[in-house]
């Protein structure tokens, strides 16, 4: 239980609670999740709450993110118990997000969410095209998504985000354009637009390898990405990270914490924590997780102690994903390293190629570099 014995002294923290449950498995999904039906959900929620209990009440939690899986796969009662546990411990959290599955989000759930102070919802919409949803193996329709979001708005939620996926096999720039417009038309505050990653071990990968599906070519993928940036910008969404867009003032604070490389606590099976010195990941298995918690043992499965180089490089890579980029003064203050000095050579190389911009004490990816960010960021992954 070494990781808990040292109190977290950071100024502000993010709290992530992972609910590894889904009502089925999407074909592209590489996350850890299990069918809700197979588990004693009350016991799981109790275990999550006792893991929360291991942190002192004065832990300065600023943001809470309840994700998954689909937290909405929990029975309302269990969900309420979990929300209550969080809300009662950290009533002052500025942002409290819950991921919602469009097919599972009804009035009852929304009421419970509101009751316990949830102030931000994130809907996994992915696409408004039926054949794309089918190909992805989503178990909801476009109409489900539209009505769930409307209902949430009617219930008083004023900070709603949705996720979209582009470059789905068989998709076209036109189809993607329609998705963007329908998303904007829903009057949400936040849109995440992810290029489809074909993860190893997924049915989608098998289908691509078997030649049943044609992966979207690089040029089209890039064109769709550029389209998202332009289209969302003209609709008033500011891009603040490679895949994230928000109306002014609605960037996700919790996720911003990751890119600032601030500390966070991860609760639940497969969740990760970072205390500024180590990254720890819980075991990715519901039964073993519950057993360990009940036995008073650590649920941690892996822990990686970061040396100075790791910390400096991780901060650089994470900062550079954002549109505000690296704040050179803040970087020096938090990592103790002079960014321009330790990364002098990649900085110069990519600047010369027009892929990095240096301005006003900040370094950020040029627009041209967003679609090929990894080819730049990899040079900041070690000294």
């Amino acid at each position: 239980m070494g990781t808990y014995s040292e109190p977290l002294r950071t100024q502000s923290l993010g709290l992530y609670v992972h609910v590894p449950l889904c009502d089925g498995k999407c074909r592209y999904c590489g996350f850890y999740s299990e069918p809700a039906a197979n588990h004693d959900l009350d016991r799981l929620v109790s275990a999550l709450i006792s893991e929360l209990d291991r942190y002192p009440a004065d832990t300065p939690v600023q943001t809470v993110y309840l994700g998954g899986g689909s937290p909405t796969s929990l029975p309302v009662g269990s969900l309420a118990r979990l929300l209550e546990a969080v809300a009662s411990r950290w009533p002052g959290a500025r942002e409290f997000t819950v991921e919602c599955n469009p097919g599972q989000t009804d009035a009852r759930i929304l009421t419970v969410l509101r009751r316990f102070g949830v102030n931000r919802l994130s809907f996994g919409v992915q696409s408004f095209h039926a054949q794309e949803l089918l190909l992805l193996g989503r178990r909801h329709t476009a109409d489900d998504a539209v009505s769930a979001i409307r209902l949430a708005q009617e219930s008083g939620f004023e900070n709603i985000g949705l996720d979209l996926i582009f470059a789905i096999p068989g998709s076209t720039p036109d189809a993607w354009h329609q998705n963007l417009h329908r998303a904007v038309a829903l009057n949400v505050q936040h849109i995440s637009a992810y290029s489809l990653t074909v993860e190893p071990g997924t049915p989608l990968l098998q289908a691509v390898q078997a030649g049943e599906l044609d992966a979207i070519d690089e040029d089209t993928d890039r064109a769709m990405y550029e389209m998202a940036i332009d289209c969302l910008a003209s609709a008033g969404f500011v891009q603040y990270e490679i895949s994230n867009f928000a109306r002014e003032g609605f960037a996700c604070l919790h996720n911003q914490g990751y890119w600032d490389n601030r500390s966070y606590i991860g609760i639940g099976p497969s969740a990760s924590s970072y205390d500024g010195g180590s990254r720890t990941t819980n075991i990715a298995d519901i039964r073993q997780y519950v057993r360990r918690i009940e036995a008073g043992q650590s649920p941690a499965d892996e822990s990686e102690r970061l040396n100075d180089e790791d910390r400096v490089c991780q901060t650089a890579v994470l900062n550079l994903r954002t549109r505000k980029g690296v704040d050179l003064a803040a970087f020096q203050a938090t990592t103790g390293a002079d960014f321009a000095e330790v990364f002098a050579s990649p900085l110069e190389r990519h600047r010369r190629l027009g892929l990095l911009e240096i301005e006003g004490g900040r370094v950020r990816l040029a627009r041209e570099a967003l679609g090929i960010a990894d080819s730049v960021l990899c040079d900041f992954s070690s000294f």
Binding site: Y16, T197, I242, T281, E304, D374, S375, S382
Partner: protein
Amino acid sequence: MDTRYIRNFSIVAHIDHGKSTLADRMLELTGTITSRDAKEQLLDDMDIERERGITIKASAVTMHYRYNGQTYMLNLIDTPGHVDFHYEVSRALAACEGALLVVDASQGVEAQTVANAYLAVETGVEIMGVINKIDLPAAQPEVVAEEMEHVLGIRRKECFRISAKTGAGVKDLLDAICELLPGPEDRSAETTKALVFDSHADQYRGVVCYVRVFSGKLRVRQKIRLMHSGRSYLVTELGQFRPAMVPVEELGTGEVGYIVANIRNLADVTIGDTVTDDANPADAPLKSYQPPMQMVFSDFYPGDNTEYSKLRAAFEKLALNDASFSFSPQNSPALGFGFRCGFLGLLHMEIIQERLERENDLDIVQTAPTVTYEVVMSDGRVKRIESPSELPDRTLIRELREPFVRLEIITSTESIGGIMKLAEARRCKLIKTDYLNPTRVMMEYKGPLAEIVYDFYDQIKGISRGYATMDYELTGFEATHLVKIDILVNGQPVDALSIIVHRDHAEQRGRKLVTKLKKSIPRHQFEIPLQVAIGGKIIARETVKAFRKDVTAKLYGGDVTRKMKVLKKQKEGKKRMKSIGSVQIPQKAFMSVLDTSD
């Protein structure tokens, strides 16, 4: 020791015909090693020899053997079979009176068998024919004996039939060595003359010289002189290889052993030099060898420019133990500081490169190997160049000459057609063919070294399904119509990618080259135009397209550890590449310029 009871012999053969294994058996039968210390190919003691299962460096060993009531001293030198290391064989033979010419009973006479037999004849040593591996089911000792008689003039009845693996016939062979090979001439009354036939640098003892005493004797505390360098040294230790170094008080006429004399620098010792007594020096040195001839040259650059001095130190260390490669500082406009290195052949080059990297934790970027060219300038001066980038401007050249070789290929009759076609495409001229027997033929060609030194052997192996073997020997430089192909990467000429080829093949090679290059340069963040120029005229172009997408869509807290690993790997992948402007050129691109396959 009485010279009548000394036998000095080398074991020579085509690669893999079982020289080192035969040496193992002899070491055992003479009780030089106990079976407890025995391991296969015991004399192959370098790591790289053991890994590759080949002998690279000749090793000497002294054994004692009872025959006919007498104790004989047998000095055996195991030699490498690979063509790159021929000079090791000539050195070894010069220290001997006899040679065992070993031939694999299942393979028969091969190209290096013939080459080594010639060497033995030239050196004037007595040759004993040995047919090995008779235990193999595919062994055809009688057919092989016939070949040996026909090609090498060794009487079939006089060939020994042995199995170095099982030991069958090896004792008879030892007896015959005592019985048939001549002993050294007795010149013990004359002043000291010993031939330095090899050397190595020892961390504690300094340079250890391997010597064969031809007259007089060597004693500990004797003041000796190396006749070539003129320097004198005091002998601090003498000894024999048994096979470990065992000190003795003196080495008499005809004996083989080593000298330690506080010689610090390997460069102070020339292989082939004569050791004599400083107070009573010999009038004339023993006949020396030709220094080893470097056949191919390549530039080595540190993958990371800041590691230049580390690379230099690595070369210096290696040179202590291998005097047969050369290195000199080099500065390429495109690649920065590095070294021009000369090698005996491609295997030698590969081995040096591997040892440099492995023993020094270095990343090396190496340019395609090239042969030496002779340039006759318009003012009549002749200059040698070891890199296409050194070729002077065309207008200053009167004539360009390239090295030619006499090439010997032994193959099966079915593959004659294919090999002839290849040889012709490679500008080789058939001099003669000679049937070893109805199914095997030996072809002699004359051709340019540049056409055969890189992939020719692999090609004939392919054509003959592994059957053909070849050997070559430099004959001299001849004028041919050569031109230089230049490559421009991203508009910038890259000297290290230039090659020199025959005019008639230039356009075709240039076009092939640029497609190969296109495949071996990874896509970058931007488009990279590649152009091929001959005599300043662009004859072909290709473009390495930019990649359009390389980004991780999601990176949140739980993804950091894994993603950082992936990014680091991506960065690692750029190692062993050389930056030219903003283009990263990988090692394989430099080598791809030689790839003539389709």
